[in-house]
């Protein structure tokens, strides 16, 4: 990393996406890339994942149109033209409020437990932070860690913590795009997508 001397404030560390690094960047290594408001859409796609970085992608304060749906995650190695979705492209284990959900061969990573879908009630707010470890690397199954909170679809909707781990095993090519998709319906226009990245060297 190079140093740039600014005219008024002394030394500025430029981050990889054009802005100055802030305190959080220096402490955690994560560099802010962007924040985007979630619009009413069926899929949320993130393209342009670069080699040499870990990525953290956060869905903040999101909500869904159809009650009880599940949140899925998929990856792409062709810039987002196609997302890996064969029957055994992923392994995952999701733990939500002490109810497990896992698969050793799935067409997607399911980020909430089957018995506790995401509520669409007014005021529902769910959150999911996904860390993609070295998506641009090749020759191994890519690891995906996730943690968040879900407003579940119980008779009385309640917040529940959720966390899990998954991997793509449909191939070992570099990942350059990823996607959030629901088991039915669409995301509503609520919340934001934040993207951070961390240089690996």
């Amino acid at each position: 990393m190079s140093l740039i001397l600014s005219g008024t404030n002394g030394i500025t560390f430029p981050d990889a996406v054009g802005g100055a690094m802030d305190g959080a960047d220096l402490l955690t290594g994560w560099q802010f890339v962007s924040i985007t408001s979630i619009t009413a859409a069926n899929n949320l796609n993130i393209t342009g994942l670069a080699a040499g970085y870990d990525y953290q992608i956060i869905l903040e304060n999101f909500d869904v149109a159809t009650d009880s749906c599940d949140l899925y995650f998929r990856i792409s190695d062709d810039g987002g033209s196609n997302y890996e979705a064969d029957a055994a492209d992923y392994d995952y284990f999701t733990d939500q409020a002490n109810t497990g959900n896992s698969s050793t061969g799935a067409a997607q990573i399911q980020m909430n437990s089957t018995g506790r879908g995401i509520a669409n009630d007014a005021g529902s707010t769910s959150y999911m932070a996904v860390t993609m470890v070295n998506p641009g690397g090749t020759g191994f199954f890519h690891q995906i860690l996730y943690e968040g909170m879900i407003t579940d679809e119980s008779a009385t909707p309640q917040l529940e913590s959720v966390r899990g781990a998954g991997r793509s095993k449909g191939g070992t090519a570099a990942i350059d795009a990823c996607q959030f998709i629901l088991s039915t319906g669409n995301f509503v226009a609520q919340g934001s997508i934040l993207i951070y990245r961390r240089a690996r060297s």
Binding site: V17, T39, A40, S154, I181, L182
Partner: protein
């Protein structure tokens, strides 16, 4: 159908119409939903009964007091949970 596409290199975003590949992938997921919904309802019913029954400790306490006081608190509680959370 639409997708919100965000470029992680530039931070730019746009709402795009589905490609044929997007539509095929989503149609496959939507087709699986009715069966999945039934599975979820069955699991939800089990989860809600389990929560409503309460802890084993609380149930043993009810049974102890029922024996000592000749009441039917535990039996009534279980019957109410079953009726309030009917099988789908």
């Amino acid at each position: 159908m639409t997708k919100l596409a965000i470029n992680a290199a530039t931070g730019e975003s746009e709402v795009l119409a589905f490609s044929e590949a997007d539509k095929a992938a989503n149609d496959k997921i939507e087709a699986a939903w009715p069966a999945l919904r039934l599975e979820k309802d069955a699991l939800k019913f089990q989860e809600e009964r389990k929560t409503a029954y309460g802890t084993i400790g609380d149930q043993l306490d009810m049974q102890y007091h029922d024996l000592v006081d000749s009441t039917t608190t535990w039996k009534d509680h279980i019957a109410k949970v079953k009726s309030d959370n009917a099988k789908p």
